[in-house]
Symmetry: C2
Subunit: 314 residues, 2 copies
Amino acid sequence: MKMKDKIVVALGGNALGNSPEEQRALVKDTAKPIVDLIEAGHEVILAHGNGPQVGMINLAMSTAANTPAGTPEMPFPECGAMSQGYIGFHLQNAIREELLNRNMNIPVATVITQVIVDKNDSAFVNPTKPIGAFYSKEESDKMVSEKGYVMIEDSGRGYRRVVASPQPVDVAEKETVSALVEQGHVVITVGGGGIPVYREGNKLIGIPAVIDKDFASEKIAEILDADYLIILTAVEQVAINFGKPDEKWLSKMNLEDTEKYIAEGHFAPGSMLPKVQAALKFAKSKPGRKALITSLEKAKEGIEGSTGTLVVLD
Amino acid sequence: MKMKDKIVVALGGNALGNSPEEQRALVKDTAKPIVDLIEAGHEVILAHGNGPQVGMINLAMSTAANTPAGTPEMPFPECGAMSQGYIGFHLQNAIREELLNRNMNIPVATVITQVIVDKNDSAFVNPTKPIGAFYSKEESDKMVSEKGYVMIEDSGRGYRRVVASPQPVDVAEKETVSALVEQGHVVITVGGGGIPVYREGNKLIGIPAVIDKDFASEKIAEILDADYLIILTAVEQVAINFGKPDEKWLSKMNLEDTEKYIAEGHFAPGSMLPKVQAALKFAKSKPGRKALITSLEKAKEGIEGSTGTLVVLD
């Protein structure tokens, strides 16, 4: 039996709170199960979302730009880069501290990570991912004409900018992440799904988009030849018929089950669906690869096989 | 003759502009001389300032916090972490592109870097480094009483917050930076002098402070056992009697010269003085170590010995 697995853990941005104080408190809860996995002998790579955080940074920067302070407008990819620094700072410290509390002196670091997308990804034709604040019809029209933003009316609450959610193609800093993992460092990477960029010759150019952090995590897990992809969520297991009388919690889904459940519409788009899709993609990418969907608290038990939903080929 | 030197290059934050557009244009100019050094066979580690950038982020965050947008107040260390992501994103891409343009496929990465200071550093007794916006007397008094900030009247332009500028003691992510340098990666680190933190047991706690980027660069150069510390500035060489009739540009300063010139007050505090002090500290740290003060454009010629001011022991 192989004792040590290489595990990419994907943490949701919602688990990181809405302010620096909240985040500093919440990363302590995050650190414990992560360090449990490390203490059990696994190599851990941590990926995370940034929805609330990049939204906050983007809103603050665009708000301040329209005050007498007159700070510059900040493009969305740059806001993503800022969010990686902001979140990484807190995450790396919490993990470092938890490691030291258990007498493990293992370096932890955040790598500013760009994820390459295809400029011709069909997602760019019809952007669907709302970001930032709500605006009035007048403000919205002005943003469309002056900045070329795509705006949508969002659930009667006002108008919001929408950006595309393209598929990750590659990770620009993969050699760096890989080198650090090989040296035994704990690496925090593809924060917020990575800073979205596209290739143009030798250039990487930032593009306003949100790469789903589950798909970005799946991509880096493939690149690093990980054994496990753990996708953390609010629930311990995946359910079919969720919220209905015949609700059923699943401890395992194979290829056939998973494709069937997806086709039957059991999983909510933008919520459980991308997690299940990313898990399946990883399981299909190479024989022996396994994905686990569970809660942060149950991550270690899940890897030991006693809970969570395991997604495997058969 | 040893062909390959390990060189820490310290770049000023003022060389990075005041907006994302300016920065994106300016990093192209930065990348060329950096890649000249790499092409000449040297190992390069890039450190940089963040004065205008962290000021802008801090101002935007505190401005937006006091609007209906109601985004959270952002502590100064967190603003520093954001600035490392923002600046690193642009710098790493510009260097990557310049390397690829010359057919060099060398990984470039930014490591979110914390620099540890002593909480009892005497600098904390009397903070002197102004950050962020100017305020009225009334606003200033309110910030003193509500937030405990130290505020000073700045040159008749209003009141500003001041923070301490403590000495760097250690670099928290030194193992990570070192591992990447050994693997031949170009590393961007100690951005803005590093995120200032102090140790409390196993914790690292952010503290509002500005670590001089020249001293932080000197510290990481010592830790990495670099051969050279290049401190970039606006001028090609260091002068004594600067701006006077007997102004003299120097191609070399030994220990005795340097200490004498410092004592005679030739170098402006907050400008050339910390550069000369950091250069001298590095030259004194181990036999054979050399520091060079020159302009970005002349960095390669300086290393070749044809310009710049070399600071050495004798």
